[in-house]
Subunit: 351 residues, 2 copies
């Protein structure tokens, strides 16, 4: 086969996983962040930090759309590409009917798949993007997600003007948008830096342990993270040590401990190589964010800055990136319903 | 190659389209409908019609979840399959944060991709499902969407209890859920009936003509439908006559006329072979639905009943199925924003 591809090897692994025989490349990433995120431990790594929470717009929703627009523009600029070089875009956010995404990318002219997995959406976007590229259905795709603290509080809890108090189990929605370009080849001269590839995925199923408190999403999401990580180990025939880091999206301090306990009950100990984007993105002692960061933007900007940097420098060689999502709405919890959750895992390697 | 597959032929066609070299099969379809839909012209073709708009549940949202649950159960039952036979599910609905989907399929244990394209979602679900199957990433997937008249009015316009009046340009959201199983093979003995396959797709980009009226979505969506259909013709090198029918999702009477005019301006006349699910699903003279039916469920139940029947009997041999979506939210239009729209086309053939 002239292309060097081998499409006849099995791609399905176990029950819910895929192994890519020709791993697609993450050729570029971008991160646009808010002021608070810029003041956090990862602040210096973001491509752009906005001092103005409205990003010069009229309302929170338009501000979030602008963050996503800038993330897409920036990732294209960094890669030296145009909108027309991208075949498909996979995007999502937390707002009802994905308006941050629709208004954020409307002007790009890129064929678009809107997706929703709450804060797990970046994992879903990277999964579908990698499948499209490896399968030969696209040469280059963008995966992008966003969230905005004020928009999310208004959407899911209370408008900021109410001044409601937040319990210590609550997380702080990240204001930001992260994007990656997934491509069938990486032509760039990386010098000593690694090329970064997606070698496999494990897609999550819905997990509902009956938690009803939208102020404690770490507890709600931890079982979904456990289920997807456990399934990844089973499907791939590996254990925790297979990965330099197992990186959840936004479990925060509460969810992290539950996840570690749940996986121990399943016979796996990830305490030594677990990391959570929601814990990394804010300084616990100085930033008063309670249980940590959350939101579609949390795992996206952390991946697009800190994690990509560590992969490029080969500080991390193989990570399991597991964004986690709480699939509630203000309607569902006001009607007394539980919070079903989901987590999508993506294996990312430096090579 | 022993499998008979030919994965090295080009799959990308033109700018936004894909041609499947090994077209996946739609092996089964199911349609669950509400009372009004059951009284319409397609009523006798639905698998189940509910007289109770609450479907025995406590609220509209739970009712819609139950419709989706029943659509998934029914399509599995008709195919003689179990949940565990399905590798992935692609599902979506119109409610904020896709709660109809999350609560509807939570118990299936199927790895799930939540997707959102407003009323175009069935096209997006079938597109991604077909790619997964043809690419060798899954053997069987389910694509499913739902909508509910009362839930959608509450979500996007006014709660029914307000008794607000609806202009003649407004469509009536279909209460129902439709599901299909897409598989890498069709082992069933179909007798004289055709096997039904997905041979290609054209994924839409966002189109925004500046329409702001959520009571006239046909006008908002027609340009998106035009753009995707025109792109399909260009990418595939065909014209309207290539298809027995070009079937839009829910443009209704207002949008249908605009679409035909817009395509004429582009040099294509589809007047003779255009059909709209929103027009087919209700009886205009007797059911007082104004501009026709709409909603994620509209194109889904029409496809899963009427269109599948016509393909099985070879009355239709090749259709372009183009669900159309208006990507507004109650927040975006209350903030004075326009209604960006999208349409996703799927080529379905009898063989």
């Amino acid at each position: 086969m002239g292309t060097g591809n081998d499409n006849n090897k099995p791609k399905m692994a176990g029950k819910q996983s895929i192994i890519f025989q020709n791993p697609p490349f993450i050729i570029e990433a971008s991160s646009i962040a808010g002021k608070k995120e810029g003041e956090g431990p990862l602040g210096s790594m973001f491509d752009l930090v906005h001092e103005d929470p409205m990003v010069g717009k009229n309302n929170w929703e338009e501000a979030e759309s602008e963050l996503m627009k800038q993330a897409v523009d920036k990732v294209l600029q960094k890669a030296g590409l145009q909108n027309s070089d991208i075949r498909y875009l996979f995007g999502g956010d937390l707002l009802g009917q994905l308006i941050a995404t629709s208004f954020g990318i409307a002007q790009t002219g890129i064929a678009t798949f809107g997706i929703y997995g709450a804060c797990s959406t970046m994992g879903e976007a990277m999964t579908l993007g990698a499948i499209m590229v490896e399968g030969g259905y696209a040469d280059k795709v963008i995966a992008v997600t966003s969230s905005h603290f004020a928009g999310a509080e208004k959407q899911f809890r209370f408008p900021l003007d109410y001044g409601n108090q937040r319990p210590y189990s609550a997380t702080w929605t990240v204001t930001g948008s992260g994007a990656v370009i997934i491509s069938d080849k990486d032509d760039a001269d990386r010098g000593n830096d690694a090329k970064v590839v997606i070698t496999g995925v494990t897609t999550g199923k819905l997990v509902d342990y009956g938690i009803k408190d939208p102020m404690n999403m770490g507890a709600a999401m931890a079982p979904a993270a456990c289920e997807t990580i456990r399934q990844n180990f089973t499907d791939m025939g590996v254990g925790p040590d297979h990965y330099d880091k197992i990186i959840t999206g936004d479990l925060g301090y509460v969810g992290k401990n539950i996840l570690i306990d749940l996986l121990r009950e399943n016979g796996y100990d990830i305490a030594n190589n677990h990391m959570d984007c929601g814990i990394e993105v804010f300084n616990k002692d100085e930033q008063d964010t309670h249980a940590g960061g959350s939101g579609c933007g949390c795992s996206a900007i952390t991946f697009a800055s800190f994690i990509m940097n560590q992969l490029r420098s080969r500080t991390l060689k193989r990570v399991l990136f597991v964004p986690t999502g709480a699939l509630l709405s203000q309607v569902s919890y006001n009607e007394g319903n539980t919070i079903p959750c989901i987590a999508h895992a993506v294996i990312v390697e430096a090579m």
